[in-house]
């Protein structure tokens, strides 16, 4: 466990840079994490995924599977991979300020 500074705020992150306390998150932090992960501009489509991811984690206590993400976020799987090229579930979770998803699917 260590801390990282995003948008002028110190937040707790794990070894891979996933925030461990979702309450420390805000939209400016999301913008900066996205930029550091190769996504220069978060579009409305990105935000649909990020917000769904976050809401789902806060309600269920775990991140949704890629299958659920594709069905329920409003963004189909093909587009998820275009929006978040290096692994949509993990990247979206990182930007959403929630812990790393642990599922295999």
């Amino acid at each position: 466990m260590s801390t990282a500074t995003y948008a002028g705020t110190a937040v707790e992150v794990d070894d891979e840079g996933f925030m461990t306390d979702p309450d420390q998150w805000n939209e400016q932090i999301a913008d900066q994490i996205a930029a550091e992960n190769g996504i220069d501009q978060l579009t409305d489509r990105h935000w649909m995924v990020v917000n769904y991811m976050r809401q789902s984690y806060l309600e269920e206590g775990s991140a949704p599977s890629i299958r659920t993400l594709g069905k329920a976020s409003g963004v189909p799987i093909k587009e998820l991979y275009q929006l978040f090229p290096k692994g949509p579930a993990k990247k979206a979770a990182k930007i959403a300020g929630i812990p790393k998803p642990r599922g295999c699917i």
């Binding site: 891979e16 599977s65 890629i66 299958r67 659920t68 594709g70 189909p76 799987i77 093909k78 991979y81 090229p85 290096k86 692994g87 949509p88 579930a89 993990k90 599922g103 295999c104 699917i105």
Partner: protein, 178 residues
């Protein structure tokens, strides 16, 4: 049966190779998964490995050969069954495994368990993998052997290829045989 699920789950996790772990090992960048068996428990592990690779940002492709072709065969992929004969992992008496309806019953139970874990049925899973950008290939030798043609396969199949072409496409990556 839950043991089988745990096994395939932990298999999925071994695909994690997002970043160097400090040991100096190069992260895996590309995998070519071969699926050679036509039973439910023969097909899922390869699909989970391929999908898991894409989720980690690893380039992946899937090559279906021999009875593994059933997974992409339009008329068969919705009816893939657990093999209940000669499958010691099920801990069923061999003669019970061969009784009519047992394979269907075990398959139904396993499918229900997988649905609970949000693991999709084979046709949906293959569509997901294709949508993730992983190409799907059928093995030409097997297609010829079974007297099939490209019309017999689901539209997500990119091509029917020879073994030589498979190795060309797999160049520079890891090959996973299941």
């Amino acid at each position: 049966m839950s043991e089988l699920l745990e096994q395939t789950e932990s298999n999925g996790q071994t695909a994690t190779a997002d970043q160097a772990d400090g040991s100096g090992n190069e992260p895996i960048k590309k995998v070519s998964v071969i699926i050679s068996k036509g039973s439910l428990e023969g097909i899922y592990p390869g699909l989970i490995m391929a999908n898991g690779a894409r989720m980690e940002g690893i380039e992946a492709s899937v090559f279906f050969t021999f009875f593994g072709l059933d997974a992409i065969n339009k008329s068969k992929h919705e009816n893939v069954k657990v093999s209940t004969v000669g499958n010691p992992g099920l801990h069923l008496a061999t003669m019970v495994g061969g009784l009519p309806g047992v394979s269907a019953m075990v398959t139904k139970k396993l499918n229900a368990e997988m649905e609970k874990l949000d693991i999709p049925p084979i046709p949906e899973f293959i569509e997901m993998i294709s949508d993730s950008g992983a190409p799907l290939y059928g093995c030409k030798a097997s297609v010829d052997l079974f007297g099939l043609s490209s019309d017999d396969f689901i539209p997500q199949v990119n091509d029917i290829i020879t073994v030589g072409e498979f190795y060309d496409y797999a160049a520079g990556g890891q090959i996973i045989f299941t």
